[in-house]
Symmetry: C2
Subunit: 321 residues, 2 copies
């Protein structure tokens, strides 16, 4: 009888101690439980302990930390920039894909890779790094999503923000490893996610060091240098972090290699996929989506017993409170 | 009279407070004085104050933090590896440049860029990142310099180690930005300089993400991807740090662009060149040297009034105590 009492008491204490952790996750969420168990195992003395300098967690951005529908938010940045720049480019009124952007026909504007590339080159290259940084900062401060009319920085996922903070409180270093542009993310990730520029890994264009009017600066060239997606993600991690992470979180097939790379190391590790199951509060999509396709990754997650978060069932809140 | 007394007293206090700072630099060293003044100006409240997150200092490695004669130490690593690997490569006995390495004729072995490239490809590529990391770690623990018979990790400059520590004690983040290989430096910079892998920027080979026997890993490919030298240094800084440093220290023309880039920002900044003037305790070289040539940089330093450290006159000690 005393033993039973004790274990009831112990359960009550544990449940109580856990109550404040990840408050926007359902209390009975299995993913939440697995995450907390993992964090405790690697950060407390015991057989799975990992020293702080190796407690590295990597997060995809689009679809993992913030939404990505109906198009990657970076494309909305490009579109907003095209509109702002149109006076200096009268030729855009009659040239695709700019013409479609200006007439509001985003479907045509974003209908091919070549179109997207042209929009990116026009809005992401030619200027200095400092100028681009300023343009991105101005946009993130003011721009609003065409469907929700919310600021993009408020379309980050509240449960993920809590997860980032929980990990850091337990000695983890949190990194973004995104297919998005490194220079598109760095100006705002610190204020929005608490992740400083040095902990942001992403795709990038070529750059050149130039001296103009006696002033040394870096210019952005109209050529991709590196795509931080799929097999590129482990390469980006190795370049910027130089260590294999012990935890990786993604939401699509583009993150699969990052999770495979993370899980192939020694010791306790955790792989997590966010599954977009909530068509009411957000967007529901997986195997057949062109944006954030989650097909191969979903199969491997089941096979390997990785954590798959059912957003509809496991998250009390979706967007930033 | 009271005023004079006070200022004498004040001078005495200042001199006393400074006595423990950079102890291996001569007390009357002008460079030391300029460095301390700069650090105090940016880290104490006042018109030149810089918030901690922007107190970024970048250091070249070869010739700035450790010696670089009679050849870059990374080449000695390649040579030592060739000797270790020779049993698996009987053909090297009759093929240049390996033949010259094995017969001890380093002059011939390192006589052309093509030779050096072949030695680097043979010793730096083909393996996984983890294997290469281990090979470098083993080497730095055991190998000795052919002329001094000292461990390479003890041929770091004591005054520079003190400078790194002094900067960190004043809220600076210290980075290495070297023409040397990023993966050659990362395994040991933390224990030798107190600089973690994420704060090391360098040249790099291409890599591929592969899965072999179900195990995800990164392999090193026989092709250079980026040379972190001259105009490459500001590009490497931008990629890995994402901010313009406020202090840069180098020793050769390969560092000039890094110093120019650093000095072109707003606010108080400091550029420092280490001048190899000490043929007794180290090696003396500048304008005519093939390794660590310091010619254009020396001219610009004089013109711009940058700090130039005369090693012979300003450093009490050269190598690690």
């Amino acid at each position: 009888m005393r033993i039973i009492c004790c274990s009831i008491l112990l359960c009550a204490i544990v449940a109580n101690a856990w109550a404040d952790i990840l408050p926007s996750w359902q209390a009975n969420s299995q993913s939440r439980q697995e995450i907390i168990t993992f964090v405790q195992q690697v950060s407390e003395p015991g057989p799975h302990f990992v020293p702080e300098e190796d407690r590295i967690a990597v997060f995809d951005n689009d679809g993992t930390l913030w939404a990505e529908q109906p198009a990657y938010f970076q494309l909305f940045f490009a579109i907003d920039r095209i509109k702002l720049m149109q006076e200096q480019h009268p030729e855009w009124k009659t040239t695709e894909p700019f013409k479609s952007v200006l007439s509001g026909d985003l479907k045509t504007a974003l209908s091919s890779e070549e179109n997207i590339k042209q929009l990116i080159v026009a809005t992401h290259t030619g200027m200095t790094q400092a100028e681009f940084h300023q343009q991105v900062s101005d946009w993130i401060d003011a721009a609003r999503h065409p469907e929700t009319n919310r600021k993009y920085s408020s379309m980050i996922y509240q449960p993920m923000l809590e997860l980032l903070e929980y990990l850091r409180a337990n000695g983890f270093k949190t990194y973004i490893v995104s297919g998005g542009g490194i220079d598109f993310m760095r100006p705002w990730t610190e204020s929005v996610y608490g992740i400083p520029p040095t902990q942001v890994v992403g795709s990038r264009v070529k750059k050149a060091f130039v001296i103009e009017d006696g002033k040394a600066m870096i210019k952005r060239l109209p050529e991709m240098e590196f795509i931080d997606d799929k097999a590129g993600k482990p390469i980006g991690i190795d370049l910027h972090i130089g260590k294999r992470p012990i935890m990786a979180v993604g939401n699509s097939d583009g993150d699969l290699q990052m999770l495979q790379y993370t899980m192939a190391g020694n010791g306790k590790r955790l792989a997590v996929f966010i599954h977009h199951t909530d068509g009411e509060r957000e967007w529901a999509y997986d195997r057949d989506s062109t944006i954030g396709r989650f097909d191969e990754g979903l199969d491997e997650a089941k096979q390997q017993n990785w954590v798959v978060v059912d957003m509809a069932k496991e998250w009390k809140t979706i967007f930033l409170k």
